[in-house]
Amino acid sequence: MYTQALDAPQTPSAPTDEDERLERFQARIDADEKIEPKDWMPEAYRQTLIRQIAQHAHSEIVGMLPEGNWITRAPSLRRKAVLIAKVQDEGGHGMYLYSAAETLGVARGELVAQLLIGRAKYSSIFNYPTLTWADIGTIGWLVDGAAIMNQIPLCRCSYGPYARAMVRICKEESFHQRQGYELMLTLARGSAEQRAMAQDALNRWWWPSLMMFGPSDTDSVHTAQSMRWKIKRFTNDELRQRFIDATVPQAEYLGLTVPDPELRFDAAAGHYVHGPIDWSEFHAVLKGDGPCNRERLAARRSAHEAGRWVREAAAAYAEKHAGSARAAQAG
């Protein structure tokens, strides 16, 4: 029952009061207490959360597009069903996240509007195209794999509604990565053409997947404060390393080559060491110059515009029949 309506912003108080509040707030976080919607929270904490949750929600929604691109072309009815269920889940996850963001006093409509005018960010990975069927497997395996690495710690995030949404999302996502890997396995064990398709997809998605964890810790602007607030539990580089350590053996099992000539296993450290990431590409895609940024936003905008008369019609109908619709349900 966490609504924006219930969640009127607190009136600012005297500075001394504010310091004391901040201190008490931090003490609650340090004691691993959850912060709930109506609790006092520093404005910066609220804004950081809104930004992060919205970005996460937008990523789910935009993320429906590259995979949705293959629903009509899935090569078996079983794969088609799996893909529809997965893309639909992503819509659901977007909803859970918008729902969590709305508890912070911002309406979904506002957040969506920011996305549509190009002011909100979403995960850059979805600005890459899905060119072959193997991309669908690779997204499940790598992109969802990376997302899960990122998301599991968020289940313990200090903000209650976000943490609860993440618990639900992580539970549902467990099938996403597995189906992707299973799809890759089928291709890897298939014909030479199918294996080539799988390798090509890995070549294209490997580096963008590593970039999903965000800039290197030395360049990440938000990390320190977010970690203090327990909005973030591990640094970008820590999570990236975990992902590489988990994924490289999976690629080897598929008989595929990770497209990083410098990749090697450091036995002493127990970790893989990877070659340099091309951050100029990351920043270019982030700025809007990726292969599909325009197409993704255009698709979201067109759905929004084309749907306006539908949303208006439903609202108008509800207005006309206010009372009777509710009465019909009461029985």
């Binding site: 949705g68 639909q88 084309a306 539908v310 108008a316």
Partner: protein, 262 residues
């Protein structure tokens, strides 16, 4: 040929049963294919979720029915062989199912008219003498009940919403109504299936469909378009131009890389 003109038979021929099950299975498959393409492009996030669920239900029905058709045929074709390796002329879906999604009104009208037909058909088929078909129908009827609830709910909201939505939904209804002829006009195969106790009585389906749809149209403040004779029936393999394009897209991978598994 009227049902009375034919002697009642204990069993229908395998060819008839195959054809008949394809009519049901292909209709669900093609409708699922249409709805699946909408995912991520709906008028609201919540509608994407709803449409995803309906597409999954229809696809599930299609898989069961095509697998059954393959078993009846006995030539080793499974659900995927039937879905991906037949050309348009061999598809037996109702032409209504293959009609494209122009705007949300067309989607809703198509689904509404089809949902009503599927709901009544499966409700009857749940009592079919064909045990396998009856089992599938029993599962499908619950799904169809929800689909109808969704599409009829939207038909009413659009019909009784704004001037724009009313205009759009009326246009969609005018455009798609001719394809309802096929749903309700029983041909010789429908009649033989009814006589053998496998398929529903066509007159019953027509009557119940009419009642259901008329009530929804009335609530939506929409007038029922005039019925025109439209004998080009997808269920006999005579389709609109849309099906070829739909199949070209749907079947691309198995056609381009024959003989491999996915």
């Amino acid at each position: 040929m009227s049902p009375a003109a034919e002697p009642a038979r204990a069993t229908a021929s395998a060819e008839d049963r195959f054809e008949y099950v394809l009519r049901l299975g292909d209709t669900s498959l093609i409708a699922a294919q249409r709805l699946g393409a909408l995912l991520g492009h709906g008028p609201a996030l919540e509608e994407d979720l709803a449409i995803g669920n309906i597409a999954l239900d229809l696809l599930g029905q299609a898989r069961l029915l095509l697998a059954l058709a393959g078993r009846i045929e006995g030539r080793g074709r499974d659900e995927d062989a039937l879905a991906f390796l037949r050309d348009a002329g061999q598809f037996r879906n109702m032409a209504l199912a293959e009609q494209p999604d122009g705007d949300f009104a067309e989607t809703i009208v198509r689904q509404c008219l089809l949902d009503a037909w599927q709901l009544e058909t499966y409700e009857s088929l749940a009592g079919s003498r064909d045990r396998e078909l009856a089992d599938i129908a029993e599962k499908a009827v619950k799904e169809c009940r929800y689909h109808w609830r969704f599409s009829a709910g939207w038909l009413v909201r659009l019909g009784d919403g704004t001037t724009e939505s009313h205009t759009r939904v009326r246009a969609a209804l005018e455009k798609l109504w001719r394809f309802t002829d096929e749903l309700l006009s029983a041909d010789a195969l429908d009649a033989r299936m009814a006589v053998s106790g496998i398929g529903p009585a066509p007159a019953l389906i027509r009557e119940r469909w009419e009642t259901r749809v008329s009530a929804a149209l009335a609530e939506a403040k929409l007038e029922r378009p005039a019925q025109r004779h439209y004998p080009w029936h997808g269920k006999r393999g005579v389709h609109t131009e849309h099906l070829g394009h739909l199949l070209a897209e749907m079947q691309f991978l198995p056609r381009a890389y024959p003989g491999v598994s996915w």
